[in-house]
């Protein structure tokens, strides 16, 4: 069908001078409205859903956070910033923040470095390349709960596989749950195991876009593989690295399932160990929202504070990673 830019009736009348009939004017307006408004209507569903499930909860959470709002009582009184002050003066909050940042550092840094190296390896000609590339993503497919449960068993104190290996190597058993550093390492291992493959594939995709001749020139200059990686590849895929760092930071600051399942089914699961040694911010929020009197007001304050923390740390990471270019 040919594209008609004017309704047939108007075309017929265009040659005649004078105003078109009322029906023609109405059709005209409708048509112009259609041209202007349809694009907005097409993208409206997304925004409607976002407004309902994204914006409204954000605003409502902020509203709840300035009230003393418990699910168990029917009255909610306005308390201003009391929840926030209580939060900032609670040592358990700072403990959770410290734990979260520590777990973030322990999981993200080795994970992204390993992803970089693995991606670099995968760019080389290998037998069964597709198999390796697809295999990289397999750990990511496993559900978080499954990963956490299995790894908690592996890291078990008396009957865990890892302790068994350590003992046979002569290093002695470690009580993974009890120690602060050991529990952070265990949780970091769980997170890294799940997400390294995913990041590897992202880096691999970025690396495919790097022109080959740069490498050839470097090879002629006698650069080793490792030098090629750090001096050529990394600067050229910098935007991708920035992306993965920010996404990993955002995800890593919200870890919940791994520490909760690592702590077991009793109260230790919610407090992240008897000494709160691996309680993350989300776990802290969960404790106050669903465990101790259902204090939704306080938990909402925690949620918004977490938002600020995540933005801050993501920004710091971004500024740090940006410096890659200046190195080479």
């Amino acid at each position: 069908m040919a594209i008609a830019t004017e309704p047939p009736e108007a075309r017929g009348r265009a040659a005649a001078p004078g105003r078109p009939s009322p029906a023609g004017r109405w059709r005209d307006r409708l048509y112009r409205l259609d041209l202007k408004a349809s694009p907005f209507l097409y993208i409206a569903p997304f925004f409607v859903l976002f407004a309902a499930f994204g914006l409204f909860p954000l605003a409502f959470t902020a509203w709840v956070s300035v009230h003393d709002w418990s699910l168990l009582s029917d009255e909610q009184s306005f308390v201003g910033l009391d929840n926030y002050t209580a939060l900032l003066t609670d040592p358990y909050f700072w403990n959770a923040l410290g734990n979260t940042v520590s777990i973030l550092a322990l999981s993200t840094v080795p994970q992204l470095l390993a992803a970089l190296l693995l991606a670099h390896l995968l760019t080389m000609r290998l037998r069964g390349q597709t198999f390796f590339r697809m295999g990289m993503l397999l750990p990511n497919v496993a559900s978080v709960v499954a990963v956490a449960v299995i790894f908690s068993q592996l890291f078990g104190r008396d009957f865990g596989l890892i302790n068994w290996v350590l003992e046979s190597l002569g290093a002695g058993r470690i009580d993974w749950q009890t120690g602060k550093a050991s529990s952070h390492v265990a949780i970091a291992v769980m997170v890294a195991w799940k997400w390294t493959g995913y990041n590897t594939l992202i880096y691999l995709a970025a690396m495919q876009a790097v022109p080959r001749d740069v490498y050839e020139a470097a090879l002629l200059d006698g650069a080793s593989r490792l030098q090629q990686l750090f001096r050529i590849t990394v600067p050229m895929i910098r935007p991708t690295i920035v992306f993965t760092v920010i996404v990993s930071t955002i995800y890593g600051l919200q870890i919940f399932a791994e520490p909760q399942l690592f702590g077991g089914a009793g109260p230790n699961g919610v407090t992240g160990g008897a000494s709160r040694q691996f309680q993350t911010l989300t776990l802290y929020l969960y404790e106050h929202a669903f465990n101790r009197g259902f204090e939704f007001g306080y938990a909402s304050a925690v949620a918004w504070t977490m938002f600020a923390v995540i933005v801050l740390i993501a920004l710091l990471n971004y500024l740090f990673i940006r410096r890659i270019r200046s190195d080479s």
Partner: protein
């Protein structure tokens, strides 16, 4: 054009399908059957009972859903607060029931459905647990009670030179928990590499539950600091921990499961439901575990009620079902199948109950042991945040076990944590 009619037809067909689906969702069963949903936190052994009931009542369908213990209760509280999502019948464990009795309006009052006539059917203290604070409303009917006994490993006791016959073992600590800890010292001296009990928390909780006043007084004040019984229980438990008696295991973890068959500890407080748990988890250790009575003689750990949330639409049908499920005949069937101990005293004379022995535990007369324990229980007032207070105390002991804090530091932290309740 050929494409346009097809597209129109497709659009019309999709719209019609959506409307039809929407209509189907909103219609209710119009053949007269009532579907009752039952939400539990474990296997209560009701499976065969549902079959029986549905056969006898063809217009009732029963759907069961099971969630993990803590999640189940959290979900229940959320559903009650938001007014939707709760099942018609919910199970509530004894550690949580006192959270719900202060707000009886969220449940159907069973007195309105005819529960007054059932009053004598249960143990007094079990009945009272589900009464509202003013006694005007009953929110639940009791299913099982914990009862308390002490399960011990015969082989480990023998290796330590301790008596192995259950009567003799019961006599070792019949009077008090101090005697139990004393035996623990002897055990540790005589053996190497195994522990006396699996975790200090259970021992502490058992001592607290046996006291006349627990962590709350009748005005709902937390009396942990002022109640001497709590202080004594704490000191004795700390002594046991410092002597190295505790295996420091966290309940319900895979480690804990494995330790029953591995035999890393010698004693564990076992309520009735724990005995079937041990049987399932350590089938190869049959004959190595035996059952003696618990220090102090009496005690209850665990047990549940079935409650009817007020948002449920089929109050009468649901009440009929829970009345039937908690009736003595059904409770006996549950006991025979899962070992959950009945809460109806008329069964305590019944030889089917008292004569019950468990071959796994060397034919221990578990019927007798738990009957005696259940009957001797003195009711203790439980306050609204009972579970949370005990969890805080338990975590304090856990920190001492982990070696993270000294007993004084742990106590200080417990006190400051309790202030925020």
């Amino acid at each position: 054009m050929t494409r346009k009619p097809f597209r129109t037809a497709l659009a019309a067909g999709t719209a019609a399908a959506m409307v039809a689906a929407g209509a189907a969702c909103s219609s209710e069963a119009d053949d007269g059957t009532v579907t009752l949903t039952v939400a539990l936190f474990g296997d209560f052994g009701f499976g065969p009972l549902y079959e029986e009931y549905m056969e006898a009542n063809p217009d009732i369908k029963i759907e069961e859903r099971i969630s993990e213990f803590a999640d189940h209760h959290t979900n229940l509280t959320t559903h009650l607060a938001t007014g939707s999502g709760a099942a018609d019948i919910e199970a509530v464990e004894v550690g949580y029931i006192s959270q719900y009795t202060p707000s009886p309006e969220r449940f159907h009052n069973l007195f309105d459905l005819g529960a007054e006539e059932l009053e004598g059917q249960w143990l007094d203290w079990k009945w009272q647990q589900a009464l509202s604070s003013d006694g005007e409303a009953l929110i639940g009917l009791g299913t099982d009670v914990g009862g308390m006994a002490m399960c011990y490993r015969k082989d480990l006791f023998e290796a330590a030179g301790l008596p192995v016959e259950r009567d003799q073992v019961s006599a070792l600590w019949a009077d008090s928990w101090s005697d139990y800890v004393e035996v623990g010292h002897q055990y540790l001296e005589a053996t190497d590499g195994s522990y006396y009990f699996e975790s200090s928390g259970n021992m502490f909780r058992a001592m607290v539950e046996q006291a006349e006043q627990g962590v709350y007084d009748r005005d709902n004040n937390i009396v942990v600091e002022s109640n001497p019984a709590i202080g004594e229980a704490w000191d004795l438990t700390v002594e046991a921990i410092e002597a190295g008696m505790s295996n420091g295991l966290e309940a319900w973890t895979p480690e804990w499961n494995a330790s029953f068959s591995e035999g890393t500890f010698a004693t564990i407080i076992c309520p009735a439901w724990m005995t079937s748990y041990i049987e399932t988890n350590a089938p190869d250790a049959a004959g190595l575990w035996d059952v003696a009575s618990v220090p102090g003689g009496a005690g209850n750990m665990g047990g549940s009620h079935l409650v009817l949330p007020a948002q449920g639409e089929h109050a009468e049908e649901a009440y009929a079902l829970i009345e039937w499920l908690t009736a003595p005949e059904q409770q006996l069937k549950v006991f025979e199948q899962t070992g959950n101990f009945p809460s109806t005293p008329e069964l305590y004379e019944d030889p089917a109950l008292t004569g019950l022995t468990k071959p796994y535990f060397n034919d221990a007369p578990v019927g007798e042991i738990f009957t005696a324990a259940a009957q001797a229980v003195q009711p203790q007032y439980q306050g609204p945040l009972q579970g949370d207070v005990l969890a805080t105390l338990g975590q304090g002991l856990g920190r001492i076990e982990d070696g993270a804090q000294s007993p004084d530091e742990a106590w200080a932290q417990v006190m400051s944590d309790l202030e925020s309740f």
